[in-house]
Amino acid sequence: MTTDSQALAIRTRDLNLWYGTFQALFDVDLKIKQGIITSLIGPSGCGKSTFLRSVNRINERLGYVRINGAIEVLGKNIYDEDVELVQVRKQIGMVFQRPNPLPISIRDNVLFGYNIHTQGRRPSYREQDDVVENALRQVLLWDEVKDKLKSKATELSLEEQQKLCIARLIPVKPGVLLMDEPCSALDPKGTEAVEELIWELRDNYTILIVTHNMAQARRTSEECIFMLMGKVIEHTATNTMFVTPAQQETADYIEGRYG
């Protein structure tokens, strides 16, 4: 996989996906580079969320989803027989559109994934404290919540909740972060804060972010993928796409003629 100049985090080959008889993805062939932020844009129903949700196989819960082709994450097809689903989910973290902290304490939220994936002896309280502090510091939330770690996560503001949802992924040490419109439930101030955070995180993770907001794609991503009707229309450096799009459909979309 190292024939490319830069290592690939996600590589799809002829990916087709159906919801029952409705085909949502058509021959998606993508090479998403490691260690950068890639954004996925396109009008509603273009398949961008569907694509994102097949990269950690969370789509599968719906019994009527059928997939053809391959999604290689860090060099391994995650749809292979010998792949353990729990490991897929561990390596590939996901942030949802609506912040969904669990209705338990802030501390327990951060530790949830960590405790699930820690084998053998239970980590001591002190070790857990370190994990919590480290994760919350990385998402710039520590100072706000350090005195109320035992209170319910669902009482935080939406912005704080979304940061917490990112924080709880950190102790699990995923290589890839999938974000499904992570700011769409937030106000402008919260959006700015979470965008900043995503930008901060880009050194340590490969981030794939679905967004409706083209300005956000432009601000936060290094490469950009434009999808339309289940097909990838264009995949290029974000600056290039927004300045000199290669395809007419892309140009029409980013100029706001539809979507």
Partner: protein
């Protein structure tokens, strides 16, 4: 320009009329409850004493208390719960959290709905055939409680499943996306957040089971026995059957006795329903989403 027109006046009259009709119907609904409770208290209230609750019937059941029946009902309900609650909750968890939406699940759901619709006397006959005769439990608490358990199983399953479904899907997705297994998700997130609903369902089941007569009268409850049950293989008296007996089967019963029995029975049910409502309100208050 905002003045009332003739049309407005007519519409408002019609609107008032319908409001009145709906209000009256609602009041009508309360009347039977008040009349029943009032009559029971008026006619049977005087007989209820501590002695009445804690002594056995005497003089061919025309005097004395109701203790064996009260005690028997507690036995019957407790054993029925021990059987139906674990099975019902496990089945509900399977249906809500594991089962795919396919023809098999749909048949099971259909079976549950049909089981809920079976008349209690049919359950009684099934209980006689299956537990009393086939499994040779005889007429016993075990046979009666098994019959009650089967009858109330749909209630437990449906109420538990509804409580589980009320836990937002976003919580489950959050867990799965972190690599939690189905069971880890259920144990750490789904169950803790649905326990209030499950408990409410169980208590409602208790109150319903308490009043049932038909399913127990052929399977384990008897007309009269001065002996308290020692094990689940004994027969027992029960409140509901006792009420039927003193009201219709025994000559020379003073008028206040059946009313007193009925008052105690309905009191048990009301207390449990109130506990259920209070518990639900308390646990709902704990939730924050």
């Amino acid at each position: 320009m905002f003045a009332e027109t003739a049309l407005n006046v007519r519409d408002k009259k019609v609107q008032g009329l319908f409001r009145l009709i709906f209000g009256l119907m609602t009041v009508l609904l309360i009347i039977p409850v008040l009349v029943i409770m009032g009559m029971l208290v008026y006619k049977g209230g005087s007989i209820i004493t501590i002695d009445f609750l804690f002594t056995a019937p005497t003089d061919g059941m025309t005097a004395g208390g109701i203790f064996p029946a009260l005690f028997g009902t507690v036995w019957l309900v407790a054993v029925a719960l021990l059987i139906s609650v674990p099975i019902g909750i496990a089945a509900a968890i399977y249906l809500s959290e594991y089962a795919a939406d396919n023809w098999f699940t749909r048949i099971i759901n259909l079976a549950i709905i049909n089981l809920a619709g079976v008349p209690s006397i049919v359950h009684a006959l099934f209980g006689v055939g299956a537990f009393v005769v086939f499994f040779k439990f005889g007429t016993s608490i075990l046979a009666a409680s098994l019959t009650l358990a089967i009858m109330t199983l749909p209630v437990v399953i449906v109420s538990t499943r509804e409580s589980l479904q009320a836990v937002p899907r976003a919580f489950r997705e959050a867990c799965w996306a972190m690599g939690a297994t189905r069971w880890q998700t259920i144990r750490r997130v789904v169950l803790p957040n649905s326990v209030s609903g499950i408990l409410t369902g169980v208590i409602l089941e208790v109150s319903r089971t308490t009043g049932e007569t038909a399913p127990i009268m052929f399977t384990g409850a008897v007309f009269f026995t001065p002996l308290l049950p020692q094990s689940v293989f004994d027969q027992t008296m029960a409140m509901s059957l006792h009420l039927f007996v003193v009201a219709t089967q025994v000559p020379g019963v003073p008028e206040e006795l059946p009313f007193g029995v009925a008052l105690v029975l309905i009191g048990m049910v009301l207390v449990m329903n109130s506990v259920s409502i209070a518990l639900r309100m308390y646990l709902r208050g704990q939730k924050k989403w």
